[in-house]
């Protein structure tokens, strides 16, 4: 334990660490709402592995409260703890008192960043490159995607992996290489027209294509549009969309997150005429959806955007949620396939959507849905967690793969790009033949099959 610097007392200055602004500025009752009953403990993936209270939601809230009250400073240990948390929000589902852990967590990380307690040169560089640079510039992000695509399509990646050339890379990059997702040859803008109309439209939808989703799963975006069209939605898709900002909000960059929110609102308004001309804004990426619904809370003090952000939040729906609310046409063609469903944290905990994806899967004739144990347990992807905390991420991935294998399913359905990349990497590593697919892609394929086999 460090002694306070001479001339200061414990009461007027936090001991070893910097002053905290965001946590201290929070409405204190949000922190106080935690009655430390401990019901979150068995649902927290990090606590379950370490059994140390500090690594639990209850423990982390106690630390945050310590900081807000000035009992504890923003120390390196606090910073590390805030980044050891997955932000999976399983604790919010378990909490009897309705503690808004996500809000606390989003305020704790900026305190860590502003205090600079985790500053290493490399960490700063990586954060600047990704959060500030690539993920705020859609065209740059797509250029990076393009380069990755050529690396993969040219056979260079296969060569590098086969010859184990990765051994020559620095350790960080070596660990990252297996996680690089497969980039698709064409991105969403090439696959989806700015406006697409079904024969008879009953609704008008704005379509969010995402950033990583756009590079690596543009086919899922196409499938989503097909499913919307098949269910009577006219689809408006803004071009070269920005990152939704969830990456920034969850990594202590609230200002950047706000800026990205404004640009996304602008882009959608431009494409659709106005938000009021849309019945829904659809997302198919769980992590993004959870954050997109939060724009209203992100911009309450912005005179130009507060009202628009609130309108935006009211209109955002996850694709499964939208289909279930409006009713979707049951496909008729048989698709004999055995599927298990992995629940993305930000779908089941962040948005409390659990029933709808299963109902959609079960509506596909011939599809057999087998529940996996611990379907709501985080797979360790958690945004960039698999990059920042590779060890815990791998532990959770192994746990997920074991539960997945226990079902014997040939396909695992996942509705979040981060989870999908993580699961694909894990399955590839273990030589598994199990495929990962978005529930909506399975539905789109079932619709497509009807056309291929008319009369079925």
């Amino acid at each position: 334990m460090q002694k306070p610097p001479p001339g200061t007392t414990r009461d007027d200055q936090p001991r070893n660490g910097k002053q905290a602004g965001h946590l201290a500025g929070l409405d204190f009752s949000v922190l106080q709402q935690c009655m430390h009953c401990g019901l979150c403990l068995p649902t927290c993936p990090t606590y379950d592995e370490t059994r140390i209270e500090r690594n639990s939601p209850r423990g982390r809230i106690a630390l945050m409260r310590g900081i807000a009250e000035g009992q504890l400073g923003v120390t390196p240990a606090f910073g590390e703890e805030m980044y050891f948390c997955l932000g999976c929000l399983a604790c919010e589902t378990a909490c009897p008192a309705g503690v808004r852990y996500g809000e606390l967590f989003e305020n704790a990380r900026p305190d860590v960043e502003e205090a600079g307690v985790l500053s290493g040169g490399k960490r700063r560089l990586v954060r600047a490159l990704t959060l500030r640079w690539v993920f705020t510039r859609p065209r740059l992000l797509r250029l990076v995607g393009r380069l990755l695509y050529f690396y993969q399509a040219s056979g260079a990646q296969a060569f590098v992996r086969r010859t184990r050339l990765t051994r020559l890379l620095p350790k960080t990059l070596r660990e990252l290489e297996p996680l690089t997702p497969r980039v698709l040859p064409r991105f969403s803008d090439a696959l989806i027209a700015p406006v697409e109309k079904p024969a008879a439209a009953t609704h008008r939808a704005g379509m969010l294509t995402g950033c990583v989703q756009d590079l690596t799963f543009s086919d899922v975006n196409r499938d989503t549009v097909d499913v919307l069209l098949a269910n009577g939605c006219e689809v408006v898709t803004p071009r070269a969309q920005f990152c939704c900002g969830s990456l920034h909000a969850h990594n202590g960059e609230l200002e950047l997150a706000r800026e990205l929110a404004r640009r996304n609102i602008d882009a959608m308004e431009r494409a659709a005429g106005s938000l009021d001309k849309l019945d829904v804004i659809v997302t198919n990426a769980a992590g993004c959806g959870s954050h997109l619904k939060n724009y209203g809370h992100l911009l309450p003090d912005d005179p130009r955007y507060a009202a628009r952000a609130a309108r935006w939040s009211a209109k955002v729906r996850d694709i499964h949620e939208w289909l279930a609310a409006t009713g979707w046409r049951r496909p008729t063609a048989e698709t004999p396939v055995s599927v298990t469903y992995h629940e993305a944290c930000h779908l089941c905990h962040g948005q409390k959507i659990t029933r709808q994806p299963r109902a959609i899967l079960e509506s596909i004739p011939g599809l057999k849905l087998t529940e996996m144990p611990e379907s709501t347990w985080c797979c360790g992807s958690a945004g960039v967690y698999n990059l920042t905390q590779p060890e815990m991420s791998q532990t959770l991935l192994r746990r997920k793969l074991k539960n997945l294998a226990a079902t014997g399913a040939g396909v695992v359905a996942s509705a979040n790009p981060g989870c999908t990349v993580q699961l694909q990497a894990g399955l590839r590593e273990t030589g598994s033949q199990v495929r990962v697919a978005h529930p909506v892609s399975l539905l789109a394929r079932a619709y497509a099959k009807e056309k291929a086999e008319p009369g079925s």
């Binding site: 009655m35 430390h36 009953c37 504890l72």
Partner: protein, 459 residues
Amino acid sequence: MNPTDLSAQIACRFPSLACLREPEDLLPYSFDGTAAYRQMSAAVVFPTNAREVADLIRWTAQEGAPVVTRGAGTGLSGGSLPTVGSLVLCLTKINRVLEVDARNLTLLAEAGASTADVAQAAEGAGLFYPPDPGSMKVSTIGGNVAENSGGLRGLKYGVTRDYIMGLEVVLPDGELVWLGNKCVKDVAGYSLKDLFIGSEGTLGIVTKVLLRLLPKPAEKKTLLATFARMDAAAATVSAIIAARIIPCTLEFLDRITIGCVEDFAQVGLPRDAEAILLMETDGHPAAVEDEGRQMERIARENGATSVQIAQTAEEATRLASARRTAFSALARVSPTTILEDATVPRSELARMINFIQQTAAKHRLRVGTFGHMGDGNLHPTFLTDERNHDEMGRVEQAMREIFDFAIELGGTITGEHGVGMAKKPFLPKAVGDASLGLMRQVKRALDPDNLLNPGKIFD
């Protein structure tokens, strides 16, 4: 020894023992599930077997260091709150279920096993461990023994004590003893294991627990009745018992709790009802069927405004959901939630509930009451804000009056949460001087230097 020295010496003498010493690590162990109590410890250690506990306690006894035993930290009376300069002994890593003996109907578990794991292991063998405290998914079986925890099934199945056949205990001087056995009958000497049940870690450290199991009841029937008057609900309970039916569940919610449940979960309860009563009977299918019908008739005869009987398992879950969400619903209302457990003989329930409501009104407080009507164990729940000192003063005053009245009615200050820190001021009045004197003698005999969980239950 000062705290820094204590933690440094442990690291030096017990190098294989996981030990937390940094403030960021200790802060999360500075409280349990009890509102408004916080105290930092000197260090937290995680032994992995009973032998390590015994070795550590032998050393702390020599050094005169205070030790507070902790399970999952879900207690509601501050029993596992660290005391100043203490070493916290956390047993969550001694957590295996060791044996289910279907021939003797027993289960052997280490103290840190969760109550849910114990219940599940029993169920896996077609057997039944009845005590089900609200925190059972998290709480440890050792903690349940230390606080003699109850649950929703008290009326028919009793509490933790009724299921303890044996205990392995580390005594305050570090000696490891085994008390009890698998025999249903055993009168060889004092029943020492009973001394440690509910002793809140002040007499010894429980490291293993031998539990009695029951055959799993074959069938269960669930009913939900609403009442326009609390005494009608209480009369229903009395009439059911008088009809020689012992339901496994007789849980009630009062009007404020009903309102909070409706605000939170919209389960369709009538907001103008003064009470709702959740009733369950379990056992042989024929008996369950018959008792279910009788309970319905009795509720109607005693003025129930409606009675619903679950026909399917899903319906039963739906009916039980109001009671299950009661605490969550109350806990959301205000920043600080204080859950109390004043308990009275069943016959005095209506008077007690009435008194709680009047007292709350008198002190301008929001108090929702729910609980175990079958066994007289009430949970008046104070919805408050610990930063509001004026209101907290009134909460304290109201609590004092409620406990006094419970004692007056022949009841007790705590039915299932234990005394710990929170009920300490009320204990003398509740048990009387002679009883308290005897407790002190027992404590002095076993722990003369007052090193195990000092300052808990009494000073």
